[in-house]
Structure formats: C-alpha cells, structure tokens
C-alpha cells in the first residue's frame, strides 16, 4: 500500500513540475516582465538593474528552479493589474471559492448518489424515467444558463434571494466566512445550486449505470438466492460495490467543481478565485494566471491522492500486504 501511494505521489510531483514549467514559461516568455512592471518609459539603467534583481539574466534552468522555490514559499510575484503580491490576492479570494465548492460539492454528491440509486432500483418506474430524462436536459444545459435562469426566477421575479456577491461576511483571522450571517447563507444558495447541479447530474448518471452493472453481478444473484432482504441486497451489497468505481470520478468531479466555479462565480459576481482568473485572462495578467494554475493543480493533485488513499479503506482487495500475510 505504501509503495503504491508513494508511486502515485511521485507521479503527482511530476505533474506539478510540468505545470510549474508551463506557468514559468508563461511568466517568462509572454510579454516582457520588465515592460509590464516598469511601463514603456523606463530608463535603460533601471531596466538593467531590475533584470539583475529579478534574476532574468541567469540561465533558464536556474530561473526555473528559483521560480519554483519562490512559488513553494508562496511568492507568485506581483499582479500586473492590481500591483499587489499575487499571494495576498489569492489568500483574500480563496475562502469564497472554497466555501462555495464545499457546499455545492456536498449537495452534488449526496443528491447524486440518492437519485442514482433510486433510478437504478426503480429502473422502469415513472419517476425514475422522468428523472433520467430531466438529467439529460441538465447535462445539455450550460452552467451559466442555469445560473441566469435561477437569478431570473428567484431574484428578478420573486425577489427572494440575492443575485450577486457573498452577502455579509465575518472575519476569522485571515479567513472570511459567509456561513455566519443570514445574508451570507442566503447568498450561497443560488450559486451553490448552479454549481452543484451539473455535477449532481453526472454523479447520478454514473451511480445509476454502475449500480445497474453491479446488480447484474453473480454475488448479487447469490445474495438474493440466500434470501437476504431486498434492502440488504441493495444497500449493503450493491451500493458499496457501486461506490468503489464511483469514488474516483467523484474525486475528479470535486476538481471540476473548482474549475466550473469560474463560470458560476462570473454569473453571480462571486468574489472568489474563479472570477479573479477570468479577469486575469481578460487583462492578460500573467502572474495571476500562472499562480491560479499552480494553485488549482496542487488542489487537484491533493484530491487525487486523497481518493487513492480512500480506495484502500473501501476495497479490501487493494490492501495487498494483508492478503500476502494470509495467502
């Protein structure tokens, strides 16, 4: 088990190095960093001084290593657009994105599994068929349209819920939370539904098809042949086996919740990392783009590693050392 985790960790480090290289190349080769920092009317001596100061005259490999080591220490340079350290901006924006991702991820996973199991068990029932048809519309419906639709119904027409922003937030050290105030919670509702709906549909469809596959397996037949209660067959035997393959995809879905957060945050003007990234692309703010890329990569890699570890708790077949001991 440890060997497997270590191998996966090594792969993850490789991915991060590649991403770092991309980020570094963006930083170094798109536009001239000096121009971006000093503007067009800089004196030649200032340029030379800054070039030496920034280490831009060193060999590329050395620059790459320096870039990585400062990134590891949380130094992503200065935003071209805001003129402030990127790290500060990210830290300011991260809580909004993470809280939104947490809420919509929880919604997507719990409702996705419940609906998936339901539509698999009642495969030919009317409700299940209706849910499946709706879900196909859900998959075809772009996230931003869902958001706009929700804003139209609940903000414009009914006036129940806010259409943009986080509401009032409370500061807990460097973290700002929207969980503590009424307006903060209300503001969370529409964005988290928007963000979670698509993922929920995907998870539901996946759970359904995996569960149908599992229900065809011999051990389910054998469980039935032993006269186990229907509930036991579905939830103890079928569901747990369904969740093994579903776990990986759910892990990846959590990753894309962060990515699709870009869209949702734009629709709802949610002051998180995604909105920051969109603005960075519009204004070609390379340091912010590069830092966002690296931050997201680290999150993805961590999620994947977590999923791998989780596997060992779910699937006994993967606990190799155990089976060796008793073989």
């Amino acid at each position: 088990m440890l060997a497997y985790i270590l191998r996966r960790a090594a792969q993850s480090v490789l991915v991060l190095l590649v991403v770092g290289l991309i980020a570094f190349s963006m930083f170094r080769f798109i536009g001239d960093p000096i121009d971006n920092m000093l503007g067009q009317e800089a004196q030649q001596e200032d340029i030379d001084r800054l070039r030496t100061e920034l280490g831009l005259d060193a060999p590329l490999l050395v620059q790459y290593v320096r870039f990585l080591s400062s990134a590891v220490q949380g130094d992503f340079g200065v935003s071209y657009g805001q003129g402030r350290p990127v790290a500060d901006i990210l830290a300011e924006r991260a809580p909004a994105t993470l809280e939104l991702a947490l809420v919509s991820g929880t919604l997507a996973i719990s409702f996705g599994i419940v609906f998936g199991v339901f539509t698999a068990i009642r495969r030919n029932g009317f409700a299940a068929q209706a849910i499946m048809s709706l879900s196909l519309i859900g998959v075809s419906l772009p996230t931003f349209l869902i958001g706009i639709l929700l804003i139209y119904v609940f903000s414009v027409e009914l006036g129940w819920l806010p259409s943009f922003g986080r509401g009032e937030t409370v500061e807990l050290g460097w973290w700002t939370t929207g969980f503590a105030t009424r307006s903060g919670l209300l503001a969370l509702i529409l964005p988290s539904i928007t963000l979670g709906l698509y993922q929920m549909t995907l998870i539901m469809r996946l759970v359904r098809s995996e569960m149908l596959e599992v229900l065809r397996q011999d051990y389910i037949r054998f469980a039935r042949a032993r006269g186990l209660r229907t509930r036991t067959v579905y939830f103890r035997h079928a569901l747990v086996n369904t969740l093994v393959p579903v776990t990986t995809v759910i892990g990846l879905q959590l990753g894309s919740i962060i990515a699709f957060g870009i869209v949702t945050e734009t629709v709802f003007q949610w002051p998180g990392l995604g909105l920051l990234f969109v603005n960075a692309i519009q204004f070609v703010d390379i340091p912010v783009m590069a830092a966002y890329l690296m931050l997201i990569s680290v999150m993805f890699v961590l999620i994947n590693l977590f999923v791998d570890v989780l596997y060992f708790f779910i699937d006994p077949r993967l606990r190799v050392d155990r089976s060796e001991a008793s073989a």
Binding site: M26, S140, P142, L145, I148, Y152, V263, I281, F300, N304
Partner: protein
C-alpha cells in the same frame, strides 16, 4: 477506399441501424432539429431580415423593440424584438449560431484529427512514442477541459499583438477547444489499435510488406470509426457548450463577431431592466442546439454499442 465506405453506408442503412433510428422518436426529432438549425446557420446571410453587423442597416431608433409589436417611433416590427442598438434579435441569433457551429465543428474536427493521429501512432508504434503521448494525455485529463481551453486561450491572447486579438479570437477559440478535447479520441483509437494490431490480418499485411501508414489507414482506422463517430457527436455538444461558456465569460468570441454565448452575455445585462427577449431567445437556441446534438449522440452510443444498454 471510397467504395468500401459506400458499401458500409449501404449496409448501415439496410441494417438494424436505420430501423432503430426510425423507431426512436427522440432520435428522429433531435436529428430534425439539428438539421434545421444547421441549415439556418449555413444560410443565415440569406434568411436573416437584416445584416446585424452592417451599421448602415441599423436604426438606433429601433432599439429595445419588444418581439412582435411595432416600434413606437419607426413602426417597424421584429419577430423576436431588437437589442439596445436596434439590431434584429432573430438575425443576430442566426449569425451567432453560425459562429457557434463553425467553432464547434472546427474544434471537434481538429480534436478528431489530432486525437486519431496520435492514438494510431501511440498504439501502432508503441514504445517511447506511446509513453510520451499517453503521459501528456493523462496529465491533461487531470484538468477539466474548460480550464485547459481557458488557459490556452489566455496564453494565445498573451502572445497575439493587441491589434489582432479580436480578429484572431475565433481561431484561438477553435485551437483552445480542440486542444482541450483530443484525449478521448486518442485513448479510444489507441485501445482499438492495440487490439487490431495483434490480429492476424494486420500481421499478414505486415508480412507482405505493406507500409505502416497504409496498414493504419486501410486496416485499423475503419475498425474504430463507430466509437470515433459517437465521441465526435458527444464532443460536438460539449464543444458548443464550451464555446458558449467561454464567450459568455468574455474570453471567447468578441462582441464584433458574437456567438450565441456572446449574445447571452450581452443579454444578461438587460435581465434586470426588463428586456427579457434579448437574453431569452439566444439562450433557447443554444439549449435546443446543445440538447438535440446531445440526444443524438446519446442515441448513437446506444445504437452502435448495444452492450452498453
């Protein structure tokens, strides 16, 4: 080659395929919608009542005309109403759909060419070629396509000189969506190639001295056509949505060449002021387009691969 494709086509039409197609109302309906929308997009310049991007044809007085009712000043009437600049919404939708479909089809074609080529190479040549291609694919798969596309768009935008950015935007968009989507094609083709490579007829072709390129094209490629077709259809729906999303975010088609996504972005600005038609009709068009292509792809997957049912 062409005769064998013709033969395949005829066989396909005689087979269960056509039977299943005609038996499925969903498939027939969505195919009909797709055909109508595609034709409307192709012939947009002929069908649309005005050229929405020719300032001479526009009259600012016509701005904000609601659908179906005559304008208070000019008395002109517009099917789906007009936007703030007096552009006919119906015409902008036709032209917007043209751009959306052009970007979608081009991006998928690009992804298909790239993915099939790399997949064939990885599967047939193997060794280091295989390792490198599939490693890149794995890394890319770790990230959602939309993020990859945005990043490519951002980088390309950074490289392009400011004055060319709007002109290049459509091509950059195609490149970005295409590059974010090749992996699926490559994986399927590689897998099928590995299977076919072991078959005796391929070994026989190798023995009689056929060149690898010819073997890949004539023997292996025909065997992967149906999964590639399914992936291409589903990818098209995803590409249309991806394009709309990017344009909606303001990192896609520029306002000078608005796609459906750009139109929705513009329309969202009028959500609170009551001009609902500027937003609603482009949204419905996008939904109809994405949904019918998606349904068609879904049906195709079931029809070509009964095992998955």
């Amino acid at each position: 080659m062409s005769t064998s494709i013709g033969l395949r086509l005829r066989n396909a039409l005689d087979s269960d395929f056509a039977y299943l197609f005609l038996r499925s109302p969903v498939a027939v309906l969505s195919a009909f919608v797709v055909i109508v929308l595609v034709l409307a997009a192709i012939f947009a310049p002929l069908i649309s009542p005005q050229d929405p991007f020719n300032p001479i044809e526009l009259n600012l007085m016509n701005g904000f005309t609601p659908p179906g009712t005559p304008n208070a000043f000019t008395g002109e009437s517009f099917w789906l109403g007009t936007d703030d600049q007096g552009r006919d919404v119906f015409s902008t939708i036709l032209h917007g759909m043209r751009i959306s479909l052009f970007v979608g089809v081009s991006a998928v074609s690009f992804a298909l060419l790239l993915g099939v080529t790399l997949g064939l190479l990885a599967g047939y040549v193997g060794g280091w070629t295989d390792t490198i291609i599939m490693r890149v694919a794995d890394v890319q798969l770790t990230f959602p396509a939309i993020l990859v596309a945005m990043l490519i768009f951002g980088i390309a935008k950074g490289i392009t000189p400011v004055e060319y950015r709007d002109q290049m935007a459509i091509w950059v968009l195609i490149l970005a969506i295409g590059l974010s989507d090749w992996v699926q094609f490559a994986r399927v083709v590689r897998g099928a190639t590995l299977v076919e490579k072991g078959r005796e007829y391929v070994q026989a072709a190798q023995l009689i001295g056929r060149r690898p390129g010819a073997i890949m094209l004539r023997h292996i490629l025909p065997n992967v056509l149906s999964p590639v077709l399914v992936i291409a259809t589903i990818s098209l729906a995803l590409a249309i949505i991806a394009e709309a999303t990017l344009s909606f975010l303001g990192v896609g088609a520029p306002p000078t060449q608005p796609s459906l996504g750009t139109l929705i972005r513009i329309g969202q600005g009028f959500l609170f002021s009551g001009e609902w038609w500027i937003l609603l009709f482009p949204s419905l068009t996008l939904l109809a387009l994405a949904l019918s292509v998606n349904l068609l792809g879904d049906w195709l997957r079931d029809a070509l691969n009964p095992r998955l049912k």
